[in-house]
Amino acid sequence: MGRHVVLIEDEPNITEAIRFLLMRDGWSVDAHSDGATAVEVIRDAAPDLVILDLMLPGKSGLEIVREVRAVEGLQALPVLMLTARGQMRDREMAEKAGVTRFMTKPFSNAEVLTAVRDLHAQAGQG
């Protein structure tokens, strides 16, 4: 089982921080900032995990998740959503759209790493 992550995040500093963390943990990270092309990127890359921002230029994270879930073979793909909007309603909508785990910014690095490992482990068992 591979350790390949696609990261969709429009804030370059955050992208850099996550890339640093995950690469050190042994992941290959494929980072993009545009929402509009995210679905194709994910489909083509067939990653083991997706980390997604909620508010993206071009297409919102929720829409991306819905479209990804509609693609054959990606229904079980673990998706970790990171967002600066942490209201209860946003979380509910995200879960409804098919997000596997939801995290509010600002997060601690340890949390992100734990979440990523958990999701990866669950997906491996499933």
Binding site: E11, N13, A17, F20, A84, G86, F107
Partner: protein, 892 residues
């Protein structure tokens, strides 16, 4: 002696003859060939004689034999009405005709706003009130049959079966006579003629018996007078209160009895007949009452003690062996009874059918989908059933009362019952303030007292328990039927009439004064009370020329003399007339009305022509009164409308305020959410990299520097954001204090450009035209510089040209100083140009340093400074114009 069979045959033959007369008279009337005598005052007067029923025929003698001269009151009342109050009757007749009245119930209902409740109430009262009267007829005919039956050896005699057959027979007669003709508005010529004939038969019979008694039995006038003097009758004292009461009752009943109303008002051909009847009818009464006392006296002398004095008219000739005279007398009594029953049943059945059965039937019909069958059949059937039911009521009353009472006593109960209608009737004719509520209340009270003090006690045990009769209702002695409110010792009739009539009238007046009549009631009231002003005389306008002259005078007033004259001339020529004025034909009146309505409006024109031509019974005064009322209502309703408009305006304002508040609250939520997002984003980077710096061991010095630099930049970004937020909040709340100073535009721009470009990594060339910048301005120069810096920094950030260039130019026009910032990039996309001044609006997907508050702050600042900042589309690049009020002239 005639056998019962012969008697029955004579009755049938007599009825057949009457029927033939009625049929013949109807035929003549429908063919329009009716002889003049059929429409004469004589027939009218004779038809009024249905007042004289079997009570008068048989009962008066009995009354005289029992109570002496008191019987005269029964004749005195109607005579007084006819002689002294014929003008009142004329009013009644006029109203009856102009309002197409079919019965007394119809009259009262019509007067009091066409109330069906009142009509039904009056109908019930009349039916109950007249029931004893019908029973009286049954009793007298039965008695007369019984007189013959007792002498008939061939037959067993059974009173009950006689009563039944008499009732059934009378019902059949009444149905045959009364319901042949359906239209109640039409007059029953046949019935009236038959009634007139019966009036002659009963008068002739009574006169014949009287003549026989005076000259055949007593032996002349002198002898008779001597006998009268000798008998008790001449010596009885006159009880003043009873006389007054009964005279009043007879007068009231004469007006209010349904059958009297039928012949007097409904069947009236011509109201001038009343003038003749006003003396001819009292004369008839005089004739028919002339021999009452002689017959009574002779009867008391001749017949054995204990024989019924009510039957003296029959038994005296029989006792004297005068079979023929007895038969004539029997026929006279039979005539009195049948004519009364027929007309009463006819009048009552019309009332029951029109005011009780038909409303109920129609309501039932309307509940079903459609009216099925012929209404005519239903009306006929309901009238026939009503007649049968009324006769059945009379029959049962006879049974309940035991058939033993004196005829006069029964008659007085009926009189007192129908007399309850008098206050409402007379009030309705002469008092415009009388109201429906008053009439209903008065009738209810009067009728109730009459039931309690007169009818129920007369019916004896069973209906009214003994203890109530003795000790009063609820054991209250002042509620005893014979001594209401503790007034004792009065004659029962006087007592009952006094209480029922006085309380009836009192309640009627009080409730009328306290209640408010409906507009329809007012209109009807005016038409009833002022009927002579509103309706045409007996023959309408006699000379059509006179009528046309009036029309001419009126038209001249409205149209002007010349124009009216021209119109009338034109009309005359159109008619080909020879006279000076046109004939008032309907076509002419219609054209005149149209001509007038152009000047004074349709309604007024119609009323005026109607007033003169007599086609309308509504006077202009009435119309004006109604119009006034309408105007009041309109005013009232417009006031209400204004109030409700005001209310709805307030409601709209509240709704708008509420919407605004909701909107504000939503905006605040969205703003907070945005702020939260904008704060969290740099904080995420700061936290992530500070944790990396803390936790990760082997970082190169370059990495350490780089990550610390990111933390530093994001901290600055946070600071900027907070500063912008604070700035915006101060600006928006209006609490900003401006520091207005004078200065040169050029200096402000110098400062702004150098501040914006300081420390910038991206190159931006700023082109300026110092010669055109020589404006003196008076403003908050720091704030103005803030705006300029913002615009320059935006160009620096967003201008996507390879060699970014910003042109700054200043110009003045129309009291305004414009400073334009135009770059050479691709500019703001058209769909985003509207929103760039909103908070947190960011057009470019690329990272921008700010939180999207810059332009919002610029706009706020410029508005505080009395100017504006706007985007200029179509300049080839991003272009913003800052406008300021020009404070001074261009510096030299």
């Amino acid at each position: 002696m005639a056998s019962l069979n012969v008697l029955a045959f004579v009755c049938l033959a007599y009825v057949a003859f009457l029927f033939f007369i009625a049929f013949w008279a109807d035929r003549m009337a429908t063919r329009g060939k009716s002889a003049a005598w059929m429409r004469s005052p004589l027939i009218y007067t004779l038809s009024l004689s249905i007042y004289c029923t079997a009570w008068t025929f048989y009962g008066a003698v009995g009354y005289a034999a029992r109570s002496g001269l008191e019987y005269v009151t029964i004749y005195l009342g109607p005579s007084l009405v006819m002689i002294c109050w014929w003008w009142g009757l004329r009013k009644l007749v006029r109203i009856g005709r102009s309002q197409r009245i079919t019965s007394i119930a119809d009259l009262l209902s019509s007067r009091y706003g066409k109330s069906n409740l009142l009509a039904a109430g009056v109908t019930i009262l009349a039916v109950i009130g007249v029931t004893p009267y019908i029973s009286l007829q049954l009793q007298s005919v039965t008695l007369s049959f019984a007189i013959f039956a007792e002498a008939d050896p061939l037959r067993g005699y059974n009173e009950t079966s006689i009563v039944f057959w008499v009732a059934a027979g009378l019902a059949v007669f009444a149905i045959l006579f009364g319901t042949r003709n359906l239209n109640a508005n039409e007059r029953h010529h046949g019935v009236v003629t038959a009634v007139a004939l019966e009036a002659i038969v009963k008068l002739a019979a009574l006169l014949a018996v009287g003549v026989f008694v005076v000259w055949g039995v007593a032996g002349g006038v002198g002898e008779t007078l001597a006998r009268i003097d000798a008998s008790q009758i001449g010596q009885w004292n006159v009880d003043g209160s009873r006389w007054a009461t009964i005279t009043f009752l007879a007068a009231a009943a004469f007006i209010c009895l349904p059958r009297m109303f039928q012949v007097m008002v409904v069947e009236n051909e011509d109201e001038r007949h009343l003038r003749i009847a006003s003396w001819a009818f009292p004369l008839y009464l005089l004739l028919i009452s002339m021999f009452v006392v002689p017959i009574a006296v002779v009867g008391l002398d001749l017949l054995p003690a204990g024989s019924n004095p009510d039957m003296f008219v029959l038994t005296v000739p029989l006792q004297q062996g005068q079979q023929g005279l007895a038969m004539l007398s029997f026929l006279g009594g039979f005539s009195s009874a049948t004519s009364m029953v027929i007309v009463a049943a006819m009048a009552l059945s019309t009332m029951v059918s029109n005011h009780i059965v038909m409303p109920v039937w129609l309501r039932l019909q309307s509940r079903r989908a459609s009216v099925s069958g012929d209404v005519r059949d239903v009306v006929l059937l309901s009238r026939r059933v009503s007649i049968a039911a009324i006769m059945a009521l009379g029959y049962f009353y006879y049974h309940l009362s035991g058939g033993v009472a004196a005829l006069a006593a029964i008659g007085l109960i009926s009189f007192a019952g129908v007399a309850q209608l008098l206050p409402a009737l007379v009030g309705g004719l002469f008092w415009r303030g009388a109201t429906r509520s008053g009439a209903l209340a008065g009738l209810t009270v009067g009728f109730g007292i009459w039931l309690y003090t007169m009818l129920l006690p007369a019916l004896g045990g069973g209906l009214l328990p003994e203890h109530i009769l003795r000790h009063g209702l609820f054991g209250l002695s002042w509620l005893r039927p014979s001594a209401l409110f503790g007034i004792e010792g009065l004659d029962p009739t006087v007592h009952a009439v006094m209480w029922s009539m006085s309380l009836n009238a009192l309640v009627f007046c009080l409730v009328s004064l306290m209640s408010f009549p409906s507009p329809l009631e007012r209109l009807q009231g005016a038409q009833f009370v002022n009927v002579f002003d509103h309706s045409a005389g007996p023959r309408g306008w006699t000379g059509s020329v006179a009528q046309c002259e009036d029309l001419m005078i009126m038209s001249q007033r409205i149209l002007g003399a010349t124009e009216a004259q021209a119109f009338f001339d034109r009309e005359r020529q159109r008619q080909g007339g020879r006279g000076p004025l046109p004939e008032p034909t309907p076509a002419f009146l219609e054209r005149l009305e149209r001509e007038l309505s152009a000047s004074i409006g349709a309604a007024a024109a119609h009323a005026m022509i109607g007033q003169i031509a007599g086609g309308s019974s509504v006077s202009v005064a009435d119309l004006l009164a109604v119009a006034d009322e309408t105007a009041q209502m309109l005013e009232y309703s417009s006031r209400l409308e204004a109030q409700s408009a005001e209310l709805s305006a307030t409601a709209r304002k509240l709704r708008e305020t509420n919407e605004k508040l909701t909107q504000l609250s939503e905006q605040k939520d969205a703003f907070l959410s945005q702020v939260s997002h904008e704060l969290r984003t740099p904080m995420t980077s700061i936290r992530a990299f500070s944790e990396i710096l803390r936790d990760a061991g082997q970082l190169s010095a370059q990495e350490q520097r780089r990550y610390a630099g990111i933390i530093h930049d994001e901290t600055l970004r946070l600071t900027r954001l907070l500063n912008d937020l604070l700035d915006l909040s101060v600006l928006e709340s209006g609490q900003v204090s401006l520091n207005i100073t004078a200065g040169g535009l050029s200096e402000v721009l110098d400062h702004a450009v150098s501040a914006a470009l300081a420390g910038s990594e991206r190159p931006l060339t700023v082109k300026r035209w110092p010669d055109a910048e020589g404006f003196r301005i008076s403003s908050d120069l720091d704030r103005l510089a803030q705006v300029f810096i913002n615009l320059i920094a935006n160009a620096q950030k967003y201008c996507d040209a390879d060699q970014p260039e910003l042109t700054v130019s200043a110009s003045a026009s129309g009291g305004w100083l414009h400073v334009e910032f135009t770059d050479n990039g691709s500019g703001v996309p058209q769909d985003a140009q509207q929103m760039i001044f909103e908070k947190f609006a960011r057009v470019s997907p690329e990272r921008a340093g700010g939180a999207g508050l810059g332009l919002a702050i610029c706009r706020e600042v410029m508005q505080r400074l009395g100017g504006d900042v706007s985007y200029l589309p179509g300049r080839g690049g991003g272009a913003f114009r800052v406008s300021l009020p020009a404070a001074g002239e261009k510096a030299a």
